[in-house]
């Protein structure tokens, strides 16, 4: 099946791609974020941040970090959607900076509230401040492991004493530098490392390539939420697989040719193999609880791993993406001249079959 092994129609190959990548914006520009942790009298907690969650899970990560610092369960926390009229502009959700920036700010904010709560706890119980901790929704003695007060009792006491239970957490990234003309500098304050391995089966008679096995390994610093990290890794691979094999965006005379998902193909669940995910925890002093980044790094390695696997299978390298039927079989793309069949069905005289899709679709 493998290139050297036989002359079968379908050949298999394996490919590897590795990366190290700067975390957050680095020397690209200002890089700071605010998160607010506001503990309510009843012991519930409101977290908000200038870091926007568009589905990647930043809210959950920030809430988890605040819960960890305050020794409370996640069900006490409500996260408010980003609104810069009540929390500082924290820059864009880019550069895989949500957890490390918003999360660092959340940790900072929660630590401020925690200090107040422990101070009040010491006053309440007469126990030395240094022998108190917040754990499992209780104020506990670290010496006797006795539960001294519930979290709600503690917050009520704090309110009654007129002490502030709001923490404004601000995180400014460590200094970085970049000399544009000379092309050097300390561009990032830390880096993440990753590797993807793809196994493909190439139909050498049609160019059809199937990814049949895949492994994704990423150093994330610390996985704040393992399920979400795995989700990011699998999503990144699926998206990268589409980039590598399917997603073509052509522009002809300034007009895009792919205007809908019938022409711009993304992978279906039948195209994505089982993905083995391996999380490497390499705790980083620059990140909250050692966490770094996991969003974008997961996406950028799949396509190179896949085209390397194709080269391993066929002996021929693809330099242009996507590695679709034509590029894999012929080594170059084919470009349709004129419109698709479905578009010219009403002026059909000179028409032969160029390509086909449902009648009525727009290309």
């Amino acid at each position: 099946m493998y290139r050297g092994a036989s002359d079968g129609e379908k050949k298999r190959g394996v490919g590897l791609a590795c990366s190290y990548r700067g975390v957050s914006l680095g020397a690209e520009g200002a890089d700071a974020a605010e998160t607010i942790v506001s503990v309510q009298t009843d012991g519930s907690v409101i977290v908000s941040s200038g870091v926007t969650d568009m589905g990647q899970g930043a809210q959950t990560q920030m809430s988890q970090i605040a819960a960890e610092v305050l020794g409370i369960s996640m069900d006490r926390i409500q996260f408010l959607n980003t609104n810069t009229s009540r929390v500082a502009d924290s820059g864009p959700t880019v550069a895989s900076r949500g957890t490390i920036m918003g999360g660092s700010a959340a940790k900072n904010a929660a630590e401020k509230v925690r200090a107040t709560l422990l101070d009040v706890g010491a006053e309440m119980t007469g126990v030395d401040l240094n022998d108190l901790d917040l754990e499992d929704n209780y104020l506990v003695s670290t010496k006797t492991h006795e539960r001294m007060a519930s979290f709600s009792e503690l917050t009520a006491a704090c309110f009654n004493k007129g002490r502030p239970m709001i923490g404004l957490g601000w995180h400014n990234s460590p200094p970085t530098s970049w000399h544009e003309e000379e092309g050097h500098g300390d561009a990032y304050f830390t880096f993440v490392y990753g590797a993807n391995a793809a196994e493909v089966e190439v139909d050498t008679e049609t160019g059809k390539t199937d990814v049949i096995d895949f492994a994704s390994v990423h150093d994330v610093g610390k996985a704040i939420n393992r399920g979400m990290v795995v989700g990011q890794m699998c999503g990144g691979v699926a998206m990268g697989l589409g980039y590598g094999l399917l997603e073509e965006f052509e522009i002809e005379d300034a007009i895009p040719k792919q205007l809908n998902f019938d022409g711009y193909l993304i992978p279906t669940s039948m195209d994505v193999p089982r993905i083995k995910t391996i999380i490497v925890e390499n705790e980083d002093p620059m990140g909250p609880f050692g966490a770094k980044s996991v969003g974008e790094p997961t996406n950028e390695l799949a396509a190179p791993a896949i085209v390397n696997a194709i080269a391993n299978a066929t002996g021929r390298r693809i330099y242009e993406l996507p590695a679709n039927l034509e590029r894999v079989l012929l080594g170059h793309k084919l470009t349709r001249q004129g419109k698709r069949g479905s578009e010219q069905k009403n002026s059909i005289d000179a028409m032969v079959v160029d390509s086909c899709k449902i009648r009525g679709g727009k290309a």
Binding site: T206, G207, M270, L334, M351, V353, C356
Partner: protein, 284 residues
Amino acid sequence: MKPFEYYSPQSVAEACALLAQLGSGAKILAGGTDVLVELRKSADDVASSIIDITGISSLKGIEESSNTIVIKPLTTHTEILRSALVGTYAPLLKTAVAGIGSPQIRNRGTIGGNIMNAAACADTVPPLIALGARIRLQSSTGDRTVALSEFFTKPYITVAQRGELLVEIRFPKLPSDARSSFMKLGRRNALSISRLSVAAILTRDQSGVLTDARIVPGASLPTWHRVSEAENLLIGHKPTRELFVEAGKKVSDIMISFTGRRWSTEYKEPVIAVLVRRALEECH
């Protein structure tokens, strides 16, 4: 979306009367997987009236009568996929519908719609032509039967007249000694439009000599038809890989004789030959 008139006839006669009355602006809605997409276009030629025939129960179902299978046009791809009759007597049609769209599209889309839409990539058509299907068209003034191989004149164009409604698809059962296959090449593994396809049927006698061969390529010729030049290479011979390769090459040559050399020929020329060979091997 342009506004349109909506009609929902409950019988074939009522539907035919509406077709006659409404003229060229009327469109039939069966599964809707093509028509509803088309309605969203801003073009001037989109339908002004929709005749929803889904309420006509006589247009649904799969039946057998002695040596014939009859499929009514409103039968969905999923129903065909699950039909024991189709699985036994037309397995290549079952293979073809299994690869159409997604489960949702197969649950909605109908065999009648697939035929009448007449897209060159329609996956049910090559198997049906290989099976020798004939279709019945009914209008307010009568009805007629047409061989499916003579029904299409160009992509999206058929010999159906305005006012005619497809009411039946009929084909002889595949003999028990026949072997059939359907090969589809798409760009991805689901929700994929055929880039190329091939339906094939082979029958051999007891000595292994091929007595019947039918090859219908899809998405490659301007209209579907059996490629007799390639079939004739096979009949009277014992099947070998070399023979199948030769038949594939012949189909490829015939395709180019119809289409000329076009932007896509560099790809389709070798690949249709491969698909034909594989389809024939699958019948082995």
